[in-house]
């Protein structure tokens, strides 16, 4: 086929021309392949880890009510059962000296076939005060076999000796949890001999089909549990459990893959813009060749086929490179997370799909440029000087369409932002906001050729500082507005989506945390769950914690505060309490109680408080009636004066503890420090920990998403480099002329640097403005949908400026190679080029 042959010959002789396309396709495809493969590999690993606990058992019995001893006997008596062992999993607080963490303690029995993990060193525990640790425990606690630990599984602290270390079945989703193993004797000691194990692992006699044991086992276990609970007995073969785990892991993987594909699509879209741009430039360079082919009798159709074949070949090359890179990335991630041990999961659809997508996008993106090139008349193409002609008609159409979309988008956004006023609620707000955002995005991106030249001229004012070089740069950029705009659109899209996400998350965080802080003004509000006084040394230790600004003990007790609400009652000294609250306590006297707002409660209502025991069970039943004052200052508790507290509870104490944290402190560390001082046995009704965790979760999500969108930013910067490189080629003659006329090399490099920076700055500014607005719109709509009050606009400046800085710095970097190429060409050689 002639057209394909010409296409391949073209690629062979100018392999670097479509390099940007190959890179853009490769990045997008690599991203997709790696997304699918990493998720599948990791979920496979965590699925494997989950079933690892089942060891080589034949059946799994689950029963959560009867004492372990009874169940074990019942199972052991079933004919065909060789061995049965309980599989306890207890949560415990583990400390080694100063360090402590929460851990899961699993059972390791006598039968090696039922060992839930592989031993790396030491031996398995057998005595009730022996445990094994895993790598995570070694990291967190800094212990090795032989070390002493203190375990607290809710029934008091117990010492234990580390006798061995188990291999960790790691993985991205499984890592981090500290897993300890202890002999069944430990669980008997902790939970008492009548404790409930929940899960039992059964080995069948050799030659017995496990499936035949399911019914007899169910019957046997059902006999020992209370009648009401007999339906809760679950007996399955281990093979069944494994299959279920695998399929549920796969479902999780699917959801995550879909999410990642959203990011991949954004990267692909940016890639498509770059590809379209590159094809336009490359084909413009080949106008003469294309014209000649037309002159010697090539039909427009033949040319089109050839050029599309060329695009497909380029796309395929990029996609194959992308598959290789994607698998490489997966291997690196899996090696890092440890999941590589359970095998890389590279599926055929997860590889072929992205390749097809890459090729299709390349061909589609090249259509416009190919169509234009193929339609070139032979005479036009052979004319010596190419004058870029700008279509006026297209501009008018663009103005009209983008103008209408912008109007529509603004209208929808206004409705979404004032959803309360127009009486819109629920998901409808979200739908309106999404439609508005889509219309605005298309308008902003589509109108780029209209305003980008204006903005470039605006930036050109700054370039004037650099004298004639700056002025010439601006003039050059005004020369091909379509190309400048297309390059900007790609970068704008990448920056805009990233900033949208960042602003949306920051706004959500600020709004929700602001709301939480209002409802729960005291950072830590603690009582001992046994109602005992807080030891003085604990108070002193807390005072010493970095990031804790104020510590106060106060009388605390439990009481029914009317309407069946059991809550903590604090006796507060209004002056002292004010330091912890955003606003002074409302008037509080010995006959009033401060309560948080709740359904059916109005200020001035008479509320009867009835005391209860610290554990919430019925107490001595003393009661008194107070007038309710409603304020968030109560943060879900009841506040009385110290005098009223003493009268109600028949005495004062110092069982309550309020802590105020520095808002700038690292919340996670403060929580860790405070909880390591307190240990267990405290009830925290403050929400510092939750809001810190929430903020951390959102931050982590934004960070991950920013990382994922990094692919899009990267591709768009390939586009910037490409545009510059091609301008350099196009302007070889002019560069030579300028050099002949006395332009220094560094001035020529400066011109390209300024061009790159102008592109990046214009794109970043538009991207940040549009992204900031859309992020706020999205967050507001989300808040409106969940019934939250006004969203508070918050911009995550460090990350947003980070994106801008990366875009600008990378654009500068992208100008280096083209700049060198332009500057090193000797003026004569360059002048000689036709």
């Amino acid at each position: 086929m002639t057209s394909l042959r010409i296409a391949l010959a073209e690629l062979r002789s100018h392999p670097t021309r479509p390099l940007a396309v190959v890179v853009a396709v490769a990045i997008s495809v690599a991203f997709m392949v790696a997304s699918v493969a990493v998720v599948q590999t990791e979920f496979h690993a965590s699925g494997t880890a989950m079933t690892r606990q089942l060891a080589d058992s034949d059946l799994v019995v689950e029963e959560y009510t009867a004492p372990a001893a009874d169940v074990l006997t019942a199972i052991g008596d079933v004919p065909g059962v060789a061995t049965v062992e309980p599989s306890y999993r207890f949560g415990a607080r583990v400390s080694a000296g100063e360090r402590s963490t929460t851990a899961t303690v699993g059972t390791v029995g006598a039968d090696p076939r039922l060992h839930p993990a592989v031993l790396a060193e030491g031996r398995w525990p057998s005595a009730p005060d022996e445990v094994t640790v895993d790598a995570a425990a070694v990291d967190v606690l800094g212990v090795a076999p032989g070390a002493q630990l203190v375990l607290d599984a809710g029934s008091g602290k117990r010492p234990a000796t580390v006798v061995g270390r188990t291999e960790t079945v790691a993985g991205l989703f499984g890592g981090g949890n500290v897993e300890l193993y202890a002999a069944p004797a430990w669980f008997d000691a902790v939970g008492g001999a009548g404790g409930v194990a929940g899960t039992y692992l059964v080995l069948a006699e050799p030659g017995t089909d496990p499936a035949t044991l399911v019914e007899p086992l169910r019957q046997a276990v059902a006999d020992v549990v209370p009648d009401a609970e007999s339906g809760s007995v679950d007996v399955r073969t281990t093979a069944e459990v494994r299959a279920e785990n695998a399929s549920s892991a796969l479902e999780g993987a699917d959801l995550m893959t879909v999410l990642l594909m959203v990011f991949a699509s954004i990267a692909m879209l940016v890639g498509a813009l770059i590809i379209a741009n590159t094809f336009t430039i490359v084909l413009a360079q080949r106008r003469r060749q294309i014209g000649l082919l037309r002159a010697v009798g090539g039909s427009a159709g033949q040319l089109r086929t050839g050029l599309l074949a060329e695009a497909a070949v380029i796309g395929l090359v990029g996609a194959l490179v992308g598959v290789a890179v994607g698998i490489g990335v997966t291997a690196v991630v899996a090696a890092w997370s440890g999941s590589i041990e359970t095998g890389l999961q590279v599926s055929v659809p997860g590889t072929v799909g992205p390749v097809l997508a890459g090729v299709t996008v390349t061909v589609l993106a090249s259509l416009a440029a190919v169509g234009r090139a193929a339609a070139t008349s032979p005479m036009e193409a052979l004319r010596p000087v190419a004058t870029p002609e700008q279509g006026r008609r297209a501009t008018v159409l663009r103005v009209v369409v983008c103008g209408l979309l912008a109007l529509l988008g603004t209208g929808l956004a206004a409705v979404a932002l004032n959803s309360r006023a127009v009486g819109l609620g629920g998901e409808l707000v979200l739908a309106v906001a999404i439609a508005g955002a889509a219309a605005l995005s298309v308008a902003v991106l589509g109108a780029a050729p209209l305003y980008v030249p204006v903005l470039v001229r605006g930036v050109g004012v700054l370039n004037r500082v650099f004298g004639p070089v700056g002025r010439m740069t601006t003039a050059q950029m005004g020369r091909n507005p379509a190309r400048t705009a297309a390059t900007c659109v790609a970068l704008m899209l990448a920056v805009g989506v990233t900033v949208t996400l960042q602003t949306g998350a920051a706004t959500t965080e600020r709004t929700l945390i602001g709301d939480i802080a209002e409802r729960f003004p005291v950072d830590f509000s603690l009582t001992r769950d046994d109602g005992a006084d807080i030891p003085l040394e604990t108070v002193e230790e807390l005072r010493a914690v970095d990031g804790i600004e104020r510590v106060m003990t106060l009388p605390a007790g439990r009481a029914d505060v009317g309407g069946g609400y059991l809550s903590t009652v604090y006796g507060v000294e209004p002056g002292a309490a004010d330091a912890f609250l955003p606003e002074p306590l409302p008037t509080l006297d010995d006959r009033t109680v401060v309560l948080s707002p709740r359904e059916g409660l109005r200020a001035g209502d008479e509320v009867t408080l009835t005391t209860a025991a610290p554990d919430g069970s019925e107490g001595d039943g003393a009661s008194a009636t107070f007038t309710a004052v409603i304020s968030h200052a109560a943060h879900g508790n009841a506040l009385l004066t110290e005098q009223a507290f003493t009268e109600l509870f028949g005495g004062s104490n110092s069982a309550g503890l309020w802590l105020d944290a520095d808002p700038r402190a690292d919340a996670a560390r403060v929580v860790a420090d405070v909880s390591s001082v307190l240990g267990s046995g405290y009830l925290d009704v403050g929400v510092y920990q939750q809001s810190a965790e929430f903020a951390q979760l959102l931050d982590a999500m934004v960070l991950i998403a920013t990382g994922l969108l990094g692919a899009a930013v990267l591709i768009s910067l390939v586009g910037v480099g490409n545009t510059l490189a091609l301008s350099v080629i196009e302007r070889t003659r002019e560069s030579a002329l300028l050099r002949a006329l006395g332009l220094q090399r560094r001035q020529l490099r400066l011109m390209l640097l300024l061009e790159a920076l102008s592109l990046a700055v214009v794109s970043a500014v538009v991207g940040v403005l549009a992204g900031g607005f859309l992020g706020w719109l999205g967050a507001s709509a989300l808040m409106g949908a969940v019934g939250q009050e006004e969203a508070v606009l918050a911009i995550s400046w460090p990350s947003t400026l980070g994106v801008v800085a990366v875009a600008v710095a990378a654009a500068a970097l992208a100008s280096v190679l083209p700049g060198r190429r332009a500057a090193t060409a000797p003026p004569v050689a360059a002048l000689a080029v036709e």
Binding site: R288, A475, L737, L741, Q744, R745, P826, V828
Partner: protein, 279 residues
Amino acid sequence: MSTATRPVPPDAPTTTVVASALDLSKVYGSGDTAVRAVDGVSVNIHRGTFTAIMGPSGSGKSTLMHCLAGLDRTTGGKVFLAGQELSALDDRRLTRVRRDQVGFVFQSFNLLPTLTARENMLLPLDLAGRRPDPDHLREVVDALGLADRLGHRPSELSGGQQQRVAIARALLTRPAVVFADEPTGALDSATAEEVLGLLRGSVDRLGQTVVMVTHDAHAASFADRVLVMGDGRLVDDLDRPAPDQLLAATTATGRAGASSRRTGGRGEQARHTLDEVGA
């Protein structure tokens, strides 16, 4: 020095040498494929003279000019321009010499399409951070008849007008030498005549030094002195030659004569087109 072989022009009593080449050679490539484009040429260019360098395609005339103008590096020998030895300068200083001491006029005008005529003219001064002398600017603009074309972009100017802008650009820095490379190659004969007249005028009225490379014996007849190149060597050095003298000289080089004036350029263009297609 080879200047001993020719008398000093009678109307140029100030025999200050403004540019000179000493045993200049330029070799392209190396080994078997090496081409000696210029082969041991020595020549002096005097201030206030109009010198034409003639010769057929491939005779090395353009290379000689490029080396004299500091556009290209020499392989051997020395080049002096305005008192500086170009071969000893680094790129930065060489660039400054081109900016301040040299004016260029090219066959294809080589104006920047994004700049107006005025901006194009003032470009070298701009690059040097110098302000134009308003009297000098007016004088040059008037002499070239460009007063009403200053705000136009190159695409809005005729070929002759573009070349006049290029000449203005070359003259405005008051360079030591204006080098013109086939300045009439892309113009019709009437416009070519006009451009040659302007160059001649700059020598006569402004005392400018001009070195022009050309195929065309008629164009060369505007010069005070004609250097004839053949196979990289200086084969003749004529003082105010008569047209028949020129014709004889160029035919004597054994190559196509004055008639090849236009076809050379076209031939190159055609070859280039084919190269692209073949690639």
